[in-house]
């Protein structure tokens, strides 16, 4: 990828929106606290993985950080004016939508929405297609894509706007091992190019393969935040130990 051009002409001069600071974050729906007192800081570089069983609060946390939901308590702060920061992030939702148009038109839509200058669009599109391995499917109607291809398109749509931070909510759930490997490859490449990847998964294998840092969630609480290596070597909490053994129920 032409990442040199990106950092020179892109985000560098504007400064980074990182670190992301989350303090005492809580989210309540219908009188019930679904997320409680979550605090962490994420700095530039590397892949942060939100790990935890179903219903632990991973998706909620991602959506709160991306500004899709308003916190019921605590705060999410970025380095920059709130109105601007989302424009430098992208998110792949757990159930991504695609427009009933070609793969290419789906990317064009994202570029239009983000007001990316016309002159840059073609190169960006080619790059995003290449990194997600979709070059050959460029003209396919997005609705005819297989599940795995559709997830890759969602990923391409996030990458095409060249975000500084990308949130990926279980990007490989329901994909076969080959598609998963392909997608993880794409994620690693983007991270290596300097995009901060914040990803949720309940797949231990994926966390091992991708994570530089692990945030372990359980029942709406953040129980651990540690470098991946130490998390897998010796988790501190009994919940995390049980989860690693495949014994923890949601």
């Amino acid at each position: 990828m032409a990442e040199g051009a990106r950092s020179a002409a892109g985000f560098g001069e504007r400064g980074s929106i990182l670190p992301l600071r989350v303090e005492g974050l809580g989210y309540r729906a219908r009188g019930e606290w679904l997320l409680r007192d979550v605090s962490f800081t994420l700095r530039a570089g590397g892949i942060a993985v939100l790990l935890g069983p179903n219903g632990a609060g991973k998706s909620l946390t991602l959506r709160l950080c991306h500004g899709m939901l308003r916190p019921s308590g605590g705060l999410v702060s970025w380095n920059g004016p709130p109105a601007e920061v989302r424009g430098r992030q992208a998110m792949v939702f757990q159930r991504p939508r695609v427009l009933r148009r070609s793969v290419r038109a789906n990317l064009a839509f994202a570029l239009r929405a983000r007001r990316v200058p016309r002159a840059l669009r073609d190169a960006r599109t080619r790059e995003a297609l290449a990194v997600t391995g979709l070059d050959a499917l460029e003209h396919r109607p997005a609705h005819r894509l297989s599940e795995g291809e559709r997830h890759r398109l969602a990923l391409a749509r996030a990458f095409v706007v060249e975000p500084e931070v990308v949130f990926l909510d279980e990007p490989t759930a329901s994909l076969d091992p080959a598609a998963t490997a392909a997608l993880e490859g794409a994620i690693r490449r983007v991270a290596a190019d300097g995009t901060k990847v914040i990803l949720s998964t309940h797949d231990l294998g994926q966390a091992r393969r991708l994570a530089d840092e692990v945030l372990f969630f359980h029942r709406g609480r953040l129980l651990e935040k540690t470098p991946a290596e130490s998390f897998f070597r010796g988790p501190r909490t009994p919940e995390a130990r049980a989860f690693l053994k495949g014994e923890l129920l949601a």
């Binding site: 989302r86 992208a90 998110m91 939702f93 939508r97 427009l99 009933r100 929405a113 109607p141 609705h143």
Partner: protein
């Protein structure tokens, strides 16, 4: 029974030799209804999409009203419009009563709720699915609205054809504000009603055949559009 057969033979003859009076009536029907449809879409599509995408106080009431208006009896609308357009009415000075323009106006008002209500439904459902994606990408409401209109284009074509169906088949309103004047405001439905009353079954029947054929065509069009949509979205 033989009278009936007679009428059929006559009708076939009228159609066969492309009777000028018959053609005139058909042409006016199409002109009035198509014009009304185009104008109704110009209002109804954006109105429906806006109701589907924007949130504002009174929106619920507007949606309810719109749905209710879909079933508005044409005669009632015709009467109301008659009162407005009649010489002593507020718009009487325009002199529109008993002109094709008045008929277009009537059908326009009848078709807007259909197009708008169906559009609202489709766009609102889509918007619910897309809301977060749009927000994430920073697409504003207006851009979202246009993207969704395009996204729903096949369903919207269906709504449009449904609107045309209502316009072309409608008789009460155009009769009241048009007056069924020969060579001026006589359309298929009003001609059928009058000729039948007079006992002139042949012209009525010929027009009836054309009207039925048209509605078949519309339905075939609907099916074709839906088929196209299925193919396009795979």
């Amino acid at each position: 029974m033989s009278e009936f057969q007679d009428a059929f033979v006559q009708a076939a003859r009228l159609l066969g030799r492309a009777d000028p009076e018959l053609l005139e009536i058909i042409a006016l029907s199409l002109r009035v209804s198509l014009t009304a449809l185009v104008l109704a879409c110009a209002v109804g599509l954006p109105m429906g999409a806006a109701l589907g995408v924007f949130r504002f106080p009174g929106r619920r009431a507007a949606v309810t009203l719109l749905n209710a208006l879909m079933g508005l009896p044409p005669v009632v609308l015709g009467l109301a419009l008659y009162l407005v357009l009649s010489r002593s009415g507020p718009l009487g000075f325009l002199g529109l009563l008993f002109t094709p323009t008045a008929m277009i106006l009537a059908q326009w008002l009848l078709v807007i709720p259909i197009v708008a209500a169906l559009t609202r439904q489709v766009v609102e459902d889509l918007h619910e699915e897309w809301e977060e994606e749009f927000r994430s990408l920073g697409a504003g409401r207006l851009r979202s609205l246009f993207e969704l209109l395009y996204e729903a284009r096949f369903q919207l074509a269906t709504a449009t054809l449904a609107g045309f169906g209502r316009a072309i088949a409608e008789v009460g309103a155009v009769l009241i504000v048009g007056g069924n004047i020969a060579h001026v405001t006589r359309v298929m439905t009003t001609a059928i009603a009058m000729e039948t009353n007079k006992g002139e079954l042949s012209l009525a029947l010929a027009l009836g055949i054309v009207l039925v054929a048209l509605s078949f065509l519309i339905n075939a069009g609907l099916v074709a559009v839906q088929e196209l949509g299925r193919v396009a979205r795979g």
